[in-house]
């Protein structure tokens, strides 16, 4: 199986886009999650707010995903 250089670079780029987003999301969620657990220990009724703040950083990985899809579309891989 032969892969064109451009396609290979595009695929690596798409992978990097997702990876960056995922690492960023993970780092932020680690801080938000531990703070959220602290909040819940004091005020268990605040679970809605804690959950909401926890999922906000997931936007980063979504952006990574969108960029990856756009790269793959542009390169004609998908």
């Amino acid at each position: 199986m032969t892969i064109e250089l451009a396609a290979a670079v595009a695929a690596i780029g798409a992978g990097l886009a997702i990876t960056g987003g995922a690492i960023g999301t993970g780092m932020v969620q680690a801080s938000v999650g531990s703070a959220g657990i602290g909040l819940l220990a004091e005020k268990p009724d605040q679970i809605g707010i804690a959950m909401l703040f926890l999922v906000i950083p997931e936007t980063l990985v979504i952006f990574g995903f969108v960029i990856a899809v756009l790269i793959l579309l542009g390169a004609g891989i998908i």
């Binding site: 809605g48 707010i49 959950m51 909401l52 999922v55 906000i56 997931e58 936007t59 979504i62 952006f63 995903f65 969108v66 899809v69 579309l73 998908i78």
Partner: protein, 622 residues
């Protein structure tokens, strides 16, 4: 549809003599949230009969707490009519069973305490069982007696110190259950000297002055055992009698207790009123739809001797949301974030619609939908109706329907595409990536534009015209911007993007001129729109994982029965895990898109829940 239930603040003025009748009507209707009036009048007091009612209520509640409710298979209770107050008090005083229960319980408590004393006496007597000491004859002016539980080292040290300090004494030893028991007779005049010896030694003293130790230990044991059995029998008889009273009179006593509770509730609510010499004033919030009926009833109850008027003092009304029972858990979900204020748009219907669509799309599998429906129905039946779990399960139950619908539309049945359904396959997750990505972005644009429109209405209602217009110009920026970018990138609508671009720039400049905050929100318009692509991302991820499970673990009989069982178990387990992941993520993400991306365009929240004055009845009715 997009508003909370309209409320009106009212003031009722009536003669003091009619106070009880009005309170009864207010409690029965349960439509007014009573607020302390701001009028400069004297605060009213609780009704006179509150002391008598509360004394009886304490007795009835106490009696009821010692009875077991009879088993009721159908959970149906024949409710009895609430009695008039005078008759109720008479009836309660005549209910002899309550006095009997309370005196039986008191007697049982005394007996139980006595049995505890007997057991302690038995334990002490048992320690000396092997000693031939008659505790009844220990009384002597010259001699004193003490007993200890000690270890061998302490015992020999004690003996040594006694002989060293020359304390005239006699020690009797015996072993009982691996414990060394010492009985010590000594010269009463050397009590202090013995104390000095004993204190540093680690020995547990046994109280032999206890009243039960008054004969030889074996005789004491026999006597105490007999007494204990008699008293335990008596306790059993009391328990039997209480059970019988519970069987025969529980509902009656519970009904009377509930009536007293209702009377107590009525008696104390008047402390929230204001009064003059001959009249009293009640103020509170009432749903507008109930005002006529409330006025009619209080007029009837007071023979027209009352006045009801509307108050418009600018106070923010409490929030009451009204929805068919099927959708009521969504009110809970919105309230979980923040209750809408009564003067803003209630977005719950729009939330319900978009939540169900987003959630259905993200999970998108008919098989998962069926499984969700089964699990959710089990949870709904298992958890009590008012709790968090029940509300979440009811949301899940309802959401399983769009999962099935989107499952059919995308031809997904536990990750398998069925050839028979190819014809009605509208969503092709794997092969139509650009189309679905565009679709989710367009869904986001639609919801954000609706959010901005709601924001316009809220600001317009609050007469904040600059902000209202900036919401409108933001809508124009969204729509014209979409056409400009869409036209430029994908060529839809028109390839000439100039008009749309110009409109976008002009609308953006107007927005900046009108509101700095709205201008800062421009970046959010872009990021929030892109955020909706998560619907596509999660949907695609769920489907790819399901199809991978199918490819790798679909069980086949060709390899033999053991691999078949193994693969079948793995197949089910992995699909279950994928389903749980999709369902959990789906709920969180669908809620998040509404709460963050949609609500941030218009929602203030922080409404105060409408809590009407009412009394919940189980055993009685009016």
């Amino acid at each position: 549809m997009l508003r909370t239930v309209p409320m009106q603040k009212i003031r009722i003025v009536a003669l003091a003599g009619n106070k009880y009748q009005i309170i009864r009507e207010l409690q029965q209707m349960g439509v007014i949230e009573i607020k302390r009036s701001g009028l400069g009048l004297e605060d009213d007091e609780v009704l006179n009969q509150i002391t008598e009612v509360s004394e009886l209520l304490v007795k009835f509640r106490s009696a009821l707490s010692f009875l077991k409710a009879p088993k009721n298979k159908n959970n149906k209770i024949k409710q009895v009519q609430q009695l008039e107050q005078a008759e109720l008090l008479k009836r309660c005083k005549a209910t002899k069973e309550v006095e009997e229960i309370n005196s039986l319980v008191e007697k049982k408590r005394t007996l139980a305490e006595h049995v505890k004393g007997l057991e302690s006496g038995l334990a002490s007597a048992a320690l000396f069982e092997d000693m031939n000491v008659d505790f009844g004859k220990l009384g002597s002016k010259g001699l004193a007696f003490r007993a200890f539980i000690a270890d061998p080292a302490s015992t020999s040290k004690l003996k040594h110190l006694i002989s060293e300090k020359r304390i005239r004494s006699e020690i009797v030893e015996s072993r009982k259950d691996n414990k060394l028991v010492l009985f010590l007779a000594f010269d009463a005049s050397q009590r202090n000297a013995l104390d000095e010896i004993v204190q540093p030694l680690s020995m547990e003293e046994v109280d032999i002055t206890e009243g039960n130790l008054n004969a030889k230990p074996k005789d004491v044991i026999l006597k105490l055992e007999k007494e204990k059995h008699t008293e335990l029998d008596e306790i059993k008889q009391i328990e039997h009698r209480l059970a019988k009273i519970g069987e025969e009179h529980y509902i009656e006593i519970a009904g009377l207790a509930e009536m007293l509770d209702s009377e107590y509730d009525r008696s104390q609510i008047s402390s929230n009123f204001k009064k003059t010499e001959h009249t009293f004033v009640v103020e509170g919030w009432v749903p507008k739809k109930n005002m006529q009926e409330l006025y009619r009833r209080i007029k009837n109850a007071t023979k027209q001797k009352c006045q009801m008027e509307e108050i418009n003092d600018g106070e923010l009304a409490p929030t009451l949301m009204s929805r068919p029972r099927l959708f009521s858990p969504f009110d809970y979900l919105v309230g979980f974030y923040s209750l809408p204020r009564s003067d803003e748009i209630d977005p719950t219907w729009f939330f319900i619609l978009s939540f169900l669509v987003f959630y259905g799309m993200m999970v998108s599998d008919f098989g998962y939908g069926v499984m969700s429906l089964i699990f959710a129905t089990i949870l709904v039946r298992k958890f009590p109706e008012e709790g968090l779990m029940n509300s979440v399960a009811r949301v899940w139950q309802l959401a399983s329907i769009p999962i099935m619908v989107f499952g059919i539309l995308s031809n997904q049945f536990f990750g398998i595409s069925l050839a028979a359904f190819k014809g009605i396959m509208f969503i092709d997750w794997i092969n139509n990536v650009p189309g679905l990505l565009t679709l989710t972005i367009l869904m986001g644009i639609t919801q954000i534009v609706v959010g901005l429109a709601f924001g316009f209405v809220n600001k317009y209602r609050h007469h904040e015209m600059k902000l209202a217009i900036s919401k409108l110009t933001s809508i124009i920026v969204m729509i014209a911007g979409t056409l400009a970018v869409g036209g430029g990138l994908f060529g839809f609508m028109s390839s000439n993007t100039m008009p749309a671009t110009v409109i976008t720039i002009v609308a953006a400049l107007i927005t900046v001129a009108l509101s700095g905050i709205e201008a800062v929100e421009f970046t959010n318009l872009i990021t929030h729109t892109l955020s909706y692509t998560r619907i596509f991302g999660f949907g695609l991820a769920s489907i790819i994982i399901a199809s991978l499970i199918d490819k790798a673990f679909t069980p086949s009989l060709s390899g033999g029965i053991i691999p078949f069982i193994l693969f079948a178990a793995l197949f089910l387990l992995l699909h279950m895990m994928n389903m749980l992941l999709s369902i959990f993520e789906g709920i969180v993400q669908a809620a998040r898109l509404n709460f963050i991306e949609f609500f941030s365009k218009f929602y203030t929240g922080g409404g105060e829940k409408f809590e009407p004055y009412h009394f919940t009845r189980r055993y009685t009715k009016e």
